[in-house]
Symmetry: C2
Subunit: 79 residues, 2 copies
């Protein structure tokens, strides 16, 4: 089973990395880029699990290890 976890900063949380990219792009003439936000994409290959077990496992992993629940949210997409 393949699945991915997408981790994003919550709305309203400042994204310094995204701001740095946006400023760099503005300096290079890309003034149409109004906002940039950077997230993480983590792709998993799981063995010997049902889709339901796999999703539950990834939710546990995302909660514990991949996302900081204070500032980040995540979603899981099975393939």
């Amino acid at each position: 089973m393949k699945a991915k976890v997408i981790v994003k900063l919550k709305e309203g949380v400042l994204d310094p990395q995204g701001q740095a990219i946006q400023q760099l792009l503005a300096q290079r003439g890309y003034s149409q880029i109004a906002d940039v936000r950077v997230g993480k994409l983590v792709e998993f290959e799981l063995e010997n699990v049902t889709p339901i077990e796999g999703e539950a496992m990834l939710a546990e992993i995302a909660d514990k290890l991949l996302a900081n629940p204070i500032i980040e949210s995540y979603r899981i997409e099975s393939q």
Copy 2:
């Protein structure tokens, strides 16, 4: 216009960050996680561009700044 650029390591390129996550998970008992690969997700908000202009601009930005074409590939998703 909103769009995202998803940057991934090409197939066959070693992913040390993904391997570190996979090993950490194995140590914690998640032996069903056979492989982990980490990518980047960059979300853009564009102003005063048509969808075609926006996609062309993001392809240029991804080529020049976001992806290393030797080891990474990217795709653009408009929303």
